[in-house]
């Protein structure tokens, strides 16, 4: 048993601080550099490009923490043995959830205070029949988007998710100090509760925060599609952290079989995402109803996103499928790291595609504001995860399946 405690080296710490600084400077500079595009009145323009970027990153990175929490609950409920050896890693990734939830909350609050106009339905003028902004479609959806109801939902999702995450983490550290299975069974019960709550809220939160950007459009597949996208991002983050720690000489108990199993998860969830993504597209394409097809018209033909749309499809479906199909690929660290980074960027672009056509429409860019903001959030994510890794020994000491996991081999 060597090196149970992770040291957050100053070099790594400086890199994360550097990334966060880049992000902060980009966001501030973005507010000055971003001006109203042609045809939009400068007084009505609330720096939508910068805010839309903040939404992309808040949602994408919060999703990583959230789905790591989901994965943790899933492992408890299914009583999975092999993953116990990497439990501390996905636990650390889940620690980003409370941070991400606060950022998401602040971003939505800024919308409610009319600092940005990402959500058309947050503007009360759309309900006023005498206003030029009046919109009957939004009036019809007002029961769901009523201010009190929206905020009740948002607060419930964010606080209950974070509360579950906090509980899992706390009990996991307590479990190290005692023997017996009482904490394990408590985690199982809590995990089951979380999964039931999450089954509903994963979809509704995606409707509330992402689908409502295209407020006139709806799709029943959307919640699952968003969920699968967040899940694969979380799996990729977990596997990249396991590989990073292995390369630094930590986690001696984690062998090729564990890595292979994580690789299988990445492969399988990539397919889940592709399946949901394609199902949503095919049904809408097939029926060709104007109020539905507008979503893909905006993403393919209207605003020049076509190339990006195809890139997302290739990066998130074909690359993982071809590159991760063989057994040897899932056991090769360098290969997995490369594919992991491709998928990570691919799913960031996927969230970009969810947000941008409904908010900035044709005024989209993929330049320094977008990349700088993403790097800033990445720095924050890395900082929070690294810090969480130092807070507890990398290998747990007491778990009913610990022994089985250490001998995992196939």
């Amino acid at each position: 048993m060597t090196n149970l405690n992770y040291t957050f080296t100053n070099k790594t710490k400086n890199i994360t601080f550097g990334l966060m600084a880049i992000g902060l400077i980009t966001i501030i500079a973005g507010f000055f550099a971003d001006t109203a595009p042609e045809g939009v009145n400068a007084e009505d323009y609330h720096h939508t490009r910068v805010w839309a970027n903040l939404l992309v990153n808040s949602y994408f990175f919060m999703g990583i923490g959230l789905l790591a929490t989901f994965f943790m609950a899933l492992q408890y409920v299914a009583e999975v043995a092999w993953s116990v050896a990497v439990k501390r890693v996905y636990e650390a990734v889940s620690c980003y959830l409370p941070v991400g939830a606060i950022i998401m909350f602040l971003l939505l609050l800024a919308g409610q205070l009319h600092l940005h106009s990402l959500y058309q339905w947050m503007d009360a003028e759309t309900l006023n029949p005498n206003s030029p902004k009046f919109d009957e479609g939004i009036v019809n959806k007002h029961a769901y988007f009523a201010t009190w109801f929206f905020w009740l939902r948002t607060c419930l999702y964010l606080s209950i998710w974070s509360w579950f995450q906090y509980g899992f983490r706390k009990r996991s550290i307590e479990e190290d100090l005692q023997n017996g299975t009482s904490i394990h069974f408590k985690n199982m019960g809590k995990g089951a509760m979380f999964l039931v709550f999450f089954a509903v809220t994963s979809s509704t939160s995606a409707w509330d925060w992402m689908m409502s950007l295209d407020v006139h459009w709806f799709s029943t597949m959307y919640g699952w599609y968003a969920f699968a996208g967040m899940w694969i991002s979380a799996m990729v983050t977990i596997i990249l952290f396991v590989l990073f720690l292995k390369r630094k000489g930590y986690l001696p108990e984690v062998n090729d079989s564990h890595i292979h199993d994580l690789g299988k998860w990445v492969f399988a969830v990539s397919f889940l995402w592709s399946y949901l993504y394609f199902c949503q597209f095919m049904l809408i394409w097939y029926t060709n109803i104007p109020e539905e097809i507008i979503y893909f018209q905006d993403r393919l033909h209207n605003y020049g996103y076509m190339a990006l749309m195809w890139t997302v499809f290739f990066m998130n479906f074909l690359f993982p499928m071809i590159l991760l199909m063989s057994r040897d690929a899932k056991r090769n660290y360098y290969f997995l790291t490369t594919v992991g980074c491709i998928i990570f960027i691919g799913h960031w672009l996927d969230v970009f595609m969810m947000v941008m056509p409904g908010t900035v429409h044709g005024n989209w860019h993929l330049s320094w504001i977008e990349i700088g903001t993403a790097l800033g959030f990445l720095g924050l994510l890395l900082f929070v995860i690294h810090r969480a890794l130092t807070k507890a020994p990398l290998m747990i000491k007491s778990h009913p399946y610990l022994d089985e996991s250490v001998h995992h081999h196939f």
């Binding site: 394609f278 095919m282 394409w285 097939y286 060709n288 081999h409």
Partner: protein, 172 residues
């Protein structure tokens, strides 16, 4: 010199694997192992080459995709152009999203069936085939290693087997 077949019976898989490793390191070949359950990693230990079934599966899958594509192109585009959701169907690619589920299903169907049938034929597990298991106890709680060797190395092998924990050694 005449050939001799040795049947070594073990009560557990661990000593069997140990003996197999010793035999292999001294250059003897193991013909087969009979076991009541699959033993992880035994292929490498007894020198079974890696299966080529995956390559077959890939070829069957490709066949399935091609057949489905040919069928749909002929039926929906070439022989009787069909109006799919009001879209032009002068070429296959124009309607490709509608064809993807069928291509996928056909790929899976052909790959799965082809692979299963190949496996059964290759290992001759067809209806009416005679059981090749030399000792029925290996379907219950015993493990058996079959070694085919020259008469001269018999005693050497037997001592390795006995030291390794074999409970019975028979010659056929």
């Amino acid at each position: 010199m005449s050939k001799v077949v040795i049947h070594a019976i073990y009560d557990d898989e661990e000593p069997l694997l140990e003996s197999a490793k010793q035999l292999r390191s001294q250059g003897f070949n193991i013909k087969d192992v009979f076991s009541p359950f699959p033993i992880h990693g035994i292929d490498g230990v007894i020198g079974v080459p890696r299966t080529r079934l995956a390559i077959c599966a890939f070829l069957y899958g490709i066949t399935g995709t091609s057949l489905a594509t040919l069928m749909m192109w002929y039926m929906m585009v070439h022989d009787w152009p069909t109006n799919i959701g009001g879209k032009p169907s002068f070429a296959y690619y124009m309607n490709v999203p509608a064809f993807i589920p069928i291509s996928f299903e056909s790929t899976v169907l052909c790959a799965a069936h082809g692979m299963a049938i190949t496996f059964f034929l290759r290992s001759w597990l067809i209806p009416g085939a005679k059981a090749k298991n030399p000792d029925p106890r290996t379907t219950d709680d015993k493990f058996m290693m079959v070694i085919e060797t020259e008469e001269g190395s018999k005693s050497n092998i037997e001592s390795i087997l006995k030291n390794g924990g074999a409970s019975e050694v028979h010659y056929k």
